[in-house]
Symmetry: C2
Subunit: 355 residues, 2 copies
DNA sequence: CCTGCCGCTGACAACGTTGTCCAGCAGCTA
DNA sequence: TAGCTGCTGGACAACGTTGTCAGCGGCAGG
């Protein structure tokens, strides 16, 4: 073997495609023991500078990278948390997810996330898959209303915090927005501006926030002594088709609503579209939406909304999660974050004079 | 020991808080061998219905869940892919991330993602952390411009696809939008409507897409034989403060621009705000933005944009990734997806008559 | 010169799972 | 009844890492 050939053989990592060098390989190349490599990799004390140098050299030469799967198996902690939400593409969840990620990062953890697509079965699959990966903790925006399947996991030490909606049939930490209060404020605002016939376009009634917002709507109407007609309520999927139809029905009724309260950001946007497409009525229809959204202030009129800070929701939940992981005990907590009515014009439009 | 006591002892999982039952525990309880439990858990054939039933019972009684860390260690595949992007909270990346997730899900893989916050160091940390977890593949929206650090990982079999921007100093698959063509079309559109002094507000020039869009701008101007003044170009961070200042400078110059081309969605939104806040000029300033955004059509005027489908970008990249994971070989591919000019009014405004 | 200690190093087991391989057993044929 | 086949079940090693512990050399103190 020529010098050159030996040189190359020396430098070429003895790995097949797809198999990586291990600490054993590094140890062999550096002429040291396995544990010494481990010590160097983890910055543990008790290694001569000379030895450390030889090991470092072998590491870079072989392109070694510690296998965290093995490490996790050995140590029992994965330094990762799971986030299950409805749809990452929804602008409401992006900031929430990012906030959770930032907190996780501050604690040296990675974030694994999945979208449930509002399907309870898929939610459960995802959650259990994450548990099988032994995530240290879970942040869940539930799609289903029965989370008893999580009991064994939580008993085994998987910290879990629910966000936006509480857990079903199980006692667990939860961080929520004040849906009831926010909705009540929104509807009261419309009433204060003279509206009497107010429609509510909301999400499926099985969803906790939708139910709470409906409750807030009823509370505000009742407080003002106003009746509520069946035709003013429409709860269901928030796809544009259904919402368009429901809005049209309310606006085209014999006694049409003069104001609309939209139950979440997707609904609000659809309603804005519907109102923009219809021929301008004598008196414009007022609108308040739940959830703020970008550019709401630049439409004309600006859209009055009940704002909830999704990033704060996520950050609070993640903070609570890591406090639990750090050993904080005590009964499950329920944190309710306030909402804020932001008036921009669309909620202040006056109804037509009483006939 | 009474019967009742034994009964309870029998049923109570022998686990401390935080430690979970293993297949060994299940096997002991069911009175079978370890491997038999493994067979049942994985649905492998060769187990009597009776035995299987006993095992299943032990599993539910103990709350056993397979430890995927150990499984991964043994099998070598993690069934997970990593996604590194700039900021999950940006509406451009939400759909992209979701699209990647859907493809991963279709292949039975989980998605682990992280935000680089446009910081090359953080990008590298994230990517390497994901590699240490032995993700099967990576989808990367690069923040840095040197990805040689990925070479050993890719050589070791980590499939990697870059999205939105190509890899730096390394040869790798990439899925891009036609930034150059889109920008050229946008600026040509403004020129076709009579504009001669057109400003470009873009992202930092180090970012590939920003450079390409700038190139497109220059190409369109050159094709029309128009000069470009230094004051019409502003590339830098896309925080609202800087963009506001830059836009104001262009609009307040001695010879102000009559049209603006905004380099991405964040810039566009800021520019819309700036234009809305300024006293209406004699002739309104025209605007075309890169990236479509929700409600662009409902502003008045509607905002003309160069649309790129971020979901398609993500889906295409993920598809390519899994094709690689399924063994597709060949040289690194570069896929360029077309953009689409959507005219809505803001780009069709006429410039003031020539003085 | 011996003892004891300290700093460094490496051998070994363990984490929980899966792949390999072999043993046991029932049912069949010769 | 012996031998063969086919099926079920289990013992064992291995994946790559980390924690435990013991060995080895040198050095200071007795």
């Amino acid at each position: 073997m020529t010098d050159t050939a030996r040189d190359i053989a020396d430098r070429t990592p003895p790995q097949r495609y797809g198999s990586r060098p291990t600490m054993k390989d590094v140890a062999a190349r550096a002429g040291v023991g396995l544990k010494t490599v481990s010590r160097v990799v983890n910055g543990e004390p008790g290694v001569t500078p000379d030895t450390e140098h030889r090991v470092q050299e072998a590491i870079t030469a072989l392109g070694f990278r510690r296998n965290d799967s093995a490490r996790i198996l050995r140590k029992g902690r994965t330094a990762s948390v799971g986030l299950v939400l409805e749809d990452l593409a929804d602008p409401f969840y992006g900031p929430l997810s990012r906030a959770v990620e930032e907190v996780a990062r501050a604690h040296g953890a990675l974030l694994i996330n999945g979208s449930s697509a509002e399907d309870p079965v898929r939610e459960q699959e995802l959650v259990l898959a994450l548990c099988a990966r032994r995530v240290d903790g879970l942040v869940v925006i539930p799609a289903g209303d029965d989370h008893r399947y999580l009991a064994p996991e939580m008993a085994a030490g998987v910290a879990t915090v629910f966000v936006d909606r509480p857990a079903g049939r199980i006692d667990a930490d939860a961080v929520l927005s004040d849906s009831f209060g926010g909705a009540r404020d929104a509807v009261s605002h419309l009433i204060a501006h003279g509206h009497r016939r107010i429609g509510f376009l909301g999400d499926q009634p099985g969803i906790h926030t939708a139910a709470e917002r409906l409750r807030g709507y009823h509370a505000a109407m009742a407080a003002a002594g106003l009746p509520v007609h069946d035709g003013w309520l429409s709860l269901g999927p928030t796809d544009p088709e259904r919402v368009r139809g429901a809005a049209a029905a309310m606006l085209d009724a014999a006694e049409p609503v003069t104001a609309l309260f939209a139950g979440n950001n997707r609904v609000t946007v659809t309603v804005v579209r519907v109102l923009a497409e219809r021929p301008a009525p004598a008196a414009p229809v007022a609108l308040v939406g739940f959830d703020d959204f970008e550019l709401a202030d630049l439409l004309s009129p600006g859209i009055t909304v009940v704002a909830q800070d999704s990033a704060q929701l996520g950050g609070t939940a993640a903070g609570l999660l890591f406090r639990r992981l750090d050993g904080a005990g005590g009964a499950p907590r329920r944190v309710v974050l306030p909402t804020r009515l932001i008036t921009r014009g669309s909620g202040e439009l006056s109804p037509p004079p009483l006939s």
